[in-house]
């Protein structure tokens, strides 16, 4: 009984901690979904939005792959781009090695799938020392943030898809002009934070 109650408390805590991410992921996901549908295929946009957002939660790639797909870039080019854009993720796992040592395979596989910038920040910062409690917390955080992202992207693409039935897709395309700056802004923000932590480490 107390174990269930404890778990419930942990999940509640994870939800409260994920609220800032809720704001970020739904907004950014919405923009990514709108771009994906407006610059790509209007009709199939929601399908691709849903598939991609559930399989990879990486905001940068969700933006970066839109112009590549729109110009039908070869897949190897997109693979190279993913390598460059997401290179930083290869270093996140190191901090989690010890904490997730005894986690069952599939469970760990899901946690790795959700090792995004935001999740990593929350999971590393969490003060929970007990491994089991930390695991419950990480899982809850991952599932909350995953759902925010999927909802954001899919709803964004769906809105454009439904609008596209009512008005000319070209009009939508023209009115979303400039929205592609969101990706550059995301890069700039990541870069600023990286430089800040780099400079902070040196002190």
């Amino acid at each position: 009984m107390s174990a269930t109650r404890e778990r419930r408390a942990l999940v509640r805590r994870a939800f409260v901690d994920s609220l800032p991410v809720l704001m970020g992921y739904t907004t950014m996901g919405f923009v990514a979904g709108v771009l994906l549908a407006a610059k790509g295929n209007v009709v199939l946009g929601p399908l691709w939005g849903f598939l991609s957002s559930s399989m990879w939660v990486t905001g940068t790639m969700s933006f970066a792959f839109v112009p590549e797909v729109a110009s039908r870039a070869p897949i190897y080019a997109i693979v190279l781009m993913t390598l460059a854009v997401n290179f930083r993720y290869a270093f996140y796992g190191f901090s989690m090695l010890a904490r997730w040592k005894d986690v069952p395979f599939w469970h760990k596989a899901y946690l790795i799938l959700m090792l995004t910038d935001e999740n990593y920040a929350l999971e590393v910062a969490s003060p929970l020392k007990d491994r089991r409690r930390h695991l419950t917390y990480c899982t809850a955080i991952s599932m909350f943030n995953h759902s925010y992202w999927v909802v954001g992207v899919t709803v964004g693409a769906l809105v454009v898809c439904l609008l596209g039935m009512a008005i000319d897709p070209d009009v939508i395309r023209r009115h979303t002009d400039g929205m592609e700056f969101a990706m550059v802004a995301l890069f700039l923000v990541i870069f600023t934070d990286q430089i800040r932590s780099f400079v902070g480490n040196g002190k």
Partner: protein
């Protein structure tokens, strides 16, 4: 349709695979052993990641209207807000909104850059007729539309000619009897292949060669 679905599926799966492999890398390398992370790996990550992101910023700027000051203003706002408020959402949304507003309000600059941009020839000649921005028009209407769109007279008008369109007489008449009479003395025929690079300085040698062989029509050959 089917090929598009296959292509998108391929893209989604490819990104998934790469993304997952990157995130799982530490667990594959150091999994089971519980070894400590070597110091050089950590410092490599600290150094290499910002460099890659910086390269990506430069790369993605090239897709924006980088000839105008707008993307730089929006970028400055984004960085400034991020340094000050430390809230990624606020910085990104503010920067993007500013860029969208500047792009819409600063339309004089943007319109000019589109008019000069060889990637978007406004007039197109094909076997089915003359088009202005994908709309079929008469030659005189095309000239009217140029003036309505406030294209300056000294602008170089790029006319896209389809590869299978061979009626040089019609394009000549259009250039001399319609465009030149309305004041558009500079017009260039471009084919689809060179359309993208037409705005950059044409290679002078090749240009003069074409001029000698065809004195009246300046026709750029596809060099790809």
């Amino acid at each position: 349709m089917a090929s598009e679905v296959l292509y998108m599926l391929g893209v989604v799966l490819a990104v998934f695979a790469v993304n997952y492999a990157l995130r799982a890398l530490p667990f594959l390398l150091f999994g089971g052993h519980g070894r400590e992370l070597p110091g050089w790996v950590a410092s490599l990550g600290n150094f290499v990641s910002p460099v890659i992101i910086a390269a990506l910023i430069v790369y993605s700027y090239s897709a924006l209207q980088w000839r105008t000051p707008w993307p730089y203003a929006a970028g400055a706002l984004t960085i400034g807000l991020q340094l000050w408020r430390r809230s990624p959402l606020v910085s990104i949304v503010a920067g993007t909104l500013l860029y969208m507003c500047l792009l819409t309000c600063g339309c004089t600059t943007t319109e000019k850059s589109i008019a000069y941009d060889g990637a978007h020839p406004l007039i197109r000649f094909s076997n089915t007729g003359i088009r202005f921005k994908d709309e079929y028009v008469t030659p005189s209407r095309a000239v009217e539309l140029l003036e309505q769109n406030k294209i300056p007279h000294d602008a170089t008008i790029h006319i896209l000619v389809d590869d299978d369109y061979t009626d040089r007489r019609a394009t000549w008449v259009f250039q001399h009897n319609y465009l030149a009479r309305a004041g558009y003395n500079r017009s260039v025929l471009v084919t689809k292949r060179v359309a993208k690079s037409a705005v950059a300085e044409a290679k002078p040698k090749e240009f003069s060669e074409t001029k000698q062989t065809r004195p009246k029509i300046r026709y750029k050959k596809a060099n790809e």
